[in-house]
Symmetry: C2
Subunit: 542 residues, 2 copies
Amino acid sequence: MLPGQMMNQPLTITSIMRFAEQVYGGGEIVSITADNPRHRYTYTDAFRRARLLANALKAAGVQQGDRVATLAWNDYRHFELYYAVPCSGAVCHTINPRLFPEQVEYIIKHADDKLIFVDPAFLPLLEALEHKLSSIQQVIVLTDACHMPQTPLKNVRDYESFIAHHSDSFNWPELDENTASSLCYTSGTTGHPKGVLYSHRSCVLHSYAAVMPDAMNISCHDVLMPIVPMFHVNAWSTPFATAMVGAKLVLPGSKMGDGEALQSLIELEKITISAGVPTVWLALLSYLRDSGKTIDSLQRVLVGGAACPLSIMEEFEHKHGVYTHHAWGMTETGPMGTFNSLKPGMDKLAKEQLDKIKLKQGRPVYGVDLRIVDEDGNTQPWDGESKGEVRIKGNWVCSAYYRHEGEASHDGDGYFRTGDVASMDPLGYLLITDRSKDVIKSGGEWISSIDLENAAVSHPAVAEAAVIGVPHPKWSERPLLIVVKAPETDLSKEEILAFLDGKVAKWWIPEDAVFVDAIPHTATGKISKKDLRIKFADYSSA
Amino acid sequence: MLPGQMMNQPLTITSIMRFAEQVYGGGEIVSITADNPRHRYTYTDAFRRARLLANALKAAGVQQGDRVATLAWNDYRHFELYYAVPCSGAVCHTINPRLFPEQVEYIIKHADDKLIFVDPAFLPLLEALEHKLSSIQQVIVLTDACHMPQTPLKNVRDYESFIAHHSDSFNWPELDENTASSLCYTSGTTGHPKGVLYSHRSCVLHSYAAVMPDAMNISCHDVLMPIVPMFHVNAWSTPFATAMVGAKLVLPGSKMGDGEALQSLIELEKITISAGVPTVWLALLSYLRDSGKTIDSLQRVLVGGAACPLSIMEEFEHKHGVYTHHAWGMTETGPMGTFNSLKPGMDKLAKEQLDKIKLKQGRPVYGVDLRIVDEDGNTQPWDGESKGEVRIKGNWVCSAYYRHEGEASHDGDGYFRTGDVASMDPLGYLLITDRSKDVIKSGGEWISSIDLENAAVSHPAVAEAAVIGVPHPKWSERPLLIVVKAPETDLSKEEILAFLDGKVAKWWIPEDAVFVDAIPHTATGKISKKDLRIKFADYSSA
């Protein structure tokens, strides 16, 4: 090989930080925290404090490669940790505080976290685990001395005291771009949570891809509010992507599901782009309907984590002039696997055709290599019909789980097996139809539980719906529809089943629907089909 | 170091090609060639033919690391070479056909090119050098058999015959991302041309940066026409950047300076973005004035290679609604060093302030690290006042010249010494004031020859102006203004010198101006100050 003669500067989070401080130092970061309803400073301030923090981490004995945990909402102190920890050469391990305590315990032990930074709200969770977390040497509460809560924990102090009195100059180490930067565990529905260990390179390349015009399209003129938590896949890389382009960043703290707080932030901070799961948008739209308030500055929302119902897209677009982008990915894929934006000419399509495209999960961006593989291992054509598991390669896709090398998570060609079932159309748009373990196999053919659920929830009297497969003597499996009725509505089994007619293939329509008061969810807010299958284990469709 | 556990997919031009073919296969490429006034095909077609070409190269004995030369305009066959050569592991060596024959001879010998692909128009240049180019085993003329010109050259054939009868499947090698991909020589004003050897990684990272919203901002909805030649710094990476995002690409062949052809392409192909040096825009604007024709689809033009006069920016904006982005870079810097787009709030500035910003060369994008260093080696503050040489680091900046390792082109900190003199303002905007060797040192202070030239050419009777330093007994040097009058105008020395009053510092104003019929230019179209200094060697300012 003849090597090129170009500089080889490592792609590190440090280089994003240095660049943003030099060229976009005046860019704003606005946060809601437990101790301040509207904290406001600049990238210059943030990175100065990141240097204080880096010195404090060093003084606390944090070495390169050590894991430093966070149990925290989206705010400026978490932002400082996002930079100071990896740029010191350590690993920023973001823990989901919504997990069950025993999962949090498992994760901290498995990651062997040395320090933990915790929001005051999550202190009780740690207190309950106190004697079980031997690796943790210090607990730092993300507040100042005045707001420091009482706690029986030992070796605990507030963040502001922790970083105070340190120098604001720090000699950031020159890191190899493949150095681990961040760690995030994904809680599967079976087995223990598994850790994805991001690298500086993967974070930088994901950010390059995220800001591209046909993806998140973030410029220095934008004001971005990630409502996706910073404990979930690096908040879709938004804390890095915004610094890379100098956009203003708004961090809503614990107010992620609070329609009133979100509306107020959008209006006052002139937010142009936001990102979150469908539940967040339901809360915001519901507040807007009730209050009659507006979100005039908001131009686009990015929706991932679950399929976005058309009703959300339409309400955003027609009432508020906000365009909704569907996206798809997971903790293991950085997360951006696909992003839905239109191709040239599509804006001229009839509404029905356009809706079909917008409901898909979108196209791969450059840097992602996707294929659809059927049960026999055959790569499927991109014909919009053929279904199979989504397999993915790319610079922001995990190559193995952290300390879990035995896991058969990749296929023989090195593609990560996502466990999602989908089709790809000739234009490169992905449509997720199921999780592979949730697929219902009826008479040798697949029925998509997601399609059935989407059809059912479009009925105004349905608050939530889930579909699972139940054994059937003739067809091997048939779908069972499980429905939570909307408050103060009435709905019969016959009505909802008749409603599905014409919306899905006739042979997909379940024979039965059952009504329940609530559908169980996982710690990350997804429908827990595992629990549903246990609950309906004795159900007979005969 | 704890390594992250993410996939490490090489950043190669091959990966751009594979991605574009899969997701944007239908994207169009339109060209003007010598044998076809309007050739039109898709990315799918282009990459299929790139595979034919790769097989043909292999059959011709091209090995990994070999240099394959081009002497060609911007068209689809050159595009195929841009991919097939580097993705085969060889090096696509683009030669500037405007260089002097002895420079072309030197470059081909120095690069040790094995094959050369040549436009029919440049065949005479090769014929004149025939017996001097021993490394060249085959000459391939970029046309088909019907249009093949007569030539005394041996081992010559047309491109279409060269690739015909080969398979359209090719197993692209898995390349290390640091493999050399492309080679471009820069003709300094002194000494032999020097080669910059780009890598796959540098081309990919430059493309990521180029498409960013605050840089070229290229989406799949755009139609881009690079008027900057493909023999010059990879046409500013546009052939890679457009494929990365699936934009339509329009290649104007030899019609780069032809206002009528450019207007027609813009109108018929609905071009939204174009890129070129100021001379190109003068030709286009002049044609538009004379013909009364319009360029309605065009939204933005990128201007680099030389400072863009305000008159061009204003005519574009006010008459045609086209926004002009200034950019700065050189062969050694990939080329994008800085790009001028506005920061938030700047659009509300008064016209005079805004013009001052727009005339600057712009801000660094993420991936570029710039500093200004004075003669004593001190890094200068970004205060908009302090001047010094621009030094640059980045993933698309050369680390050394090809086969020229002795050259002291980098400073002790590893920054490339650009030879450009500039200031940086507090907002990160670069303003080039001179080439370091063209700076005029008068009474111990620097006078910017570029500022004086810009002021002089804003006089309607000045067609072109150059300023050089001439010896002065008291001030050591003083500026001399050299002017070419516009056709059918009259202008006296006193008039033009008086005109400068108020436009530059009083002590900058030259004591003398001389009128000439023509100003000498280098092969890349820049004013040759070396030749002017020779011509005026005996000039006395006393």
